[in-house]
């Protein structure tokens, strides 16, 4: 296995968590937009 440094792995984990948060944030914005457009 060629994990070159702990630093890369740590940043990699952070990147993956950010990706997950981005999906959740997009969904939350869809919720908010949905309430504006569907309720009015």
């Amino acid at each position: 296995m060629k994990i070159q440094s702990f630093y890369n792995a740590f940043l990699g984990i952070a990147t993956e968590i950010l990706y997950a948060i981005a999906i959740m944030l997009a969904a939350f914005l869809v919720c908010v937009a949905g309430y504006f457009f569907l309720k009015l």
């Binding site: 296995m1 792995a9 990147t15 990706y19 959740m24 997009a26 949905g34």
Partner: protein, 500 residues
């Protein structure tokens, strides 16, 4: 002309199946030790008996069928499908002995649901299940999600020849690293790192919410194992609702998404190529399709008037969508609410999410984003061929870990597996309707079983007809192994009967 299997075929299959059974037997020692630590003597004995049976059968097979010959493709695929069935039969023994499952068939259903990371459950009185048995349900998901064969490759297989054939037979056709044994060890490394981090985080949240420390970390470990391996088992019958915590729900959503990512993608990101997460066609497709299916579900829920507030819609609506997409099966609502409170359009959104699934070479099920992306790109390519001048050369590229030109054989392979999944969904739905369940309920449950999701609309219960239990067991098994090794096993038996 079909050739009858020879003695060497049987020896190879028996030898490697025996090794995998030995692995399952050793895995059962983990809940046995936990049972002893929590002074649960009877559950510990249940696992001792189960482990002994698995180890004895495994050792007999490896001794009787000892061979140094390499596996061919047929043997490798048959080893995988057969050992998954064997794992189900031995994995069910401790559960059946516990008395929390109504019959050995129910225990087999639970074992297959665990190993196949589905999460549909037939347990009775889950809230009073011992720590040992509860851990086994989640640990079986952890083991099954990584791959029973992957574990064997890590610990019991010395050479790489033949190992790749078993690796592929378990529904993984991409190597993370050139050496398949190193690939297996990397998959475990990712899982263990996230296990430690997530158990600490979830355990801390549990303690902050008033749980005892031992209980909080036990729940944290179990929830992580089922979330990362996109299984969906929970230590309590109310599933994630039990915790009544927004933070818990957010953390589990993050873990589900992490588990649904391609392990090759994990490797690339962990080794410095962080841009791959946005360049990769699967992660882009997952992002877009999750938003689209959630939009469909949101419109459907809004029509019914369920969840009138933004945060409630996020916790009750989106949580189920992401659980369906990642094929985890965690819920923050009760099972019957899918039918009673969601309406047809929202249910259609969830069924689509379950059917599509998530990334290939991950712990999730379903058709997979890579196959859907390949099919869409192939459609684009064909449309371009029609629209552009006849002499134009139309090449379609996709980025999946590297730039690839789309070839007909990739499109054919993706279409074949997609059609197989759709056929499996339909067959399960027809069987459900045969037993008297309504169409939408039957389709929901069938897709949930075949795509290894675990969401239930109420059909999966101890009182379910035996024929339907067997149907869902077969669906979970075939869906997890992505058909090829199952077809190889069927072909093997046909060859044994009709071969010359």
């Amino acid at each position: 002309m079909i050739l009858k299997p020879q003695l060497q075929d049987l020896k190879n299959i028996g030898y490697y199946s025996g090794k995998i059974l030995i692995g399952i037997g050793l895995a059962m020692l983990v809940p046995m030790v936990v049972g002893l630590l929590f002074a649960e003597i009877n559950p510990a004995l249940d696992f001792l008996i189960g482990a002994e049976i698995a180890l004895i059968v495994g050792l007999i097979l490896t001794k009787l069928c000892f061979t140094e010959k390499d596996l061919n493709w047929m043997q490798g695929m048959v080893v995988v499908s057969l050992s998954w069935l064997a794992a189900m039969f031995v994995g069910a023994i401790p559960s059946y002995l516990s008395g929390h499952w109504g019959s050995y068939l129910d225990a087999c259903f639970e074992a297959m649901s665990g190993f196949a990371t589905t999460g549909l459950t037939l347990v009775q009185d889950l809230d009073h299940l011992s720590y040992a048995h509860n851990l086994w349900r989640h640990f079986a998901s952890f083991v099954g999600g990584q791959g029973i064969v992957v574990i064997a490759l890590c610990f019991f297989v010395k050479g790489v020849s033949g190992a790749f054939k078993m690796y592929v037979g378990e529904g993984r056709d991409e190597r993370v690293l050139p050496n398949v044994i190193d690939s297996s060890r990397f998959i475990w490394l990712v899982s263990i790192v996230y296990l430690i981090v997530s158990t600490l985080v979830l355990g801390t949240i549990g303690i902050a919410n008033g749980m005892r420390p031992a209980n909080a970390f036990f729940h944290g470990a179990c929830i992580f194992m089922a979330a990362f391996d996109t299984a969906g088992f929970a230590p309590q019958s109310q599933n994630i609702l039990y915790y009544h915590s927004v933070l818990f729900e957010v953390i589990t959503m993050v873990i589900m998404i992490l588990g649904a990512m391609n392990f090759n993608l994990h490797y690339r990101i962990w080794t410095g190529d962080r841009r791959e997460i946005w360049k990769n066609i699967e992660s882009r497709a997952l992002f877009i399709i999750v938003v689209v299916t959630f939009l469909i579900t949101l419109v459907g829920l809004n029509q019914i008037g369920s969840y009138p507030r933004v945060l409630v819609m996020f916790r009750k609506g989106f949580y189920q969508v992401i659980s369906a997409h990642t094929t985890t099966g965690y819920v923050t609502i009760y099972a019957r609410q899918f039918i009673d409170d969601w309406g047809a359009l929202a249910l259609a959104g969830i069924i689509c999410a379950m059917a599509f699934g998530s990334s290939s070479c991950s712990t999730s099920g379903g058709i997979k984003m890579l196959r859907l992306s390949i099919i869409v790109k192939a459609l684009q390519q064909d449309l371009k061929r029609i629209i552009l001048p006849e002499r134009a050369v139309v090449e379609q590229k996709i980025h999946h870990l590297k730039e690839l030109f789309l070839e007909d054989k990739q499109v054919r392979a993706s279409l074949l597996i997609t059609v197989a999944y759709l056929a499996l969904y339909a067959i399960g739905a027809l069987v459900g309707m045969f037993y008297g369940y309504p169409f939408l309920d039957s389709l929901f449950e069938s897709v949930s079983a075949a795509a290894n999701v675990g969401l239930s609309c109420g059909i999966t219960a101890p009182g379910m007809p035996a024929g339907l239990k067997i149907t869902y067991i077969v669906q979970m098994w075939a869906g997890r192994l992505e058909f090829m090794s199952v077809f190889a096993l069927i072909g093997f038996f046909i060859a044994a009967i009709k071969g010359k």
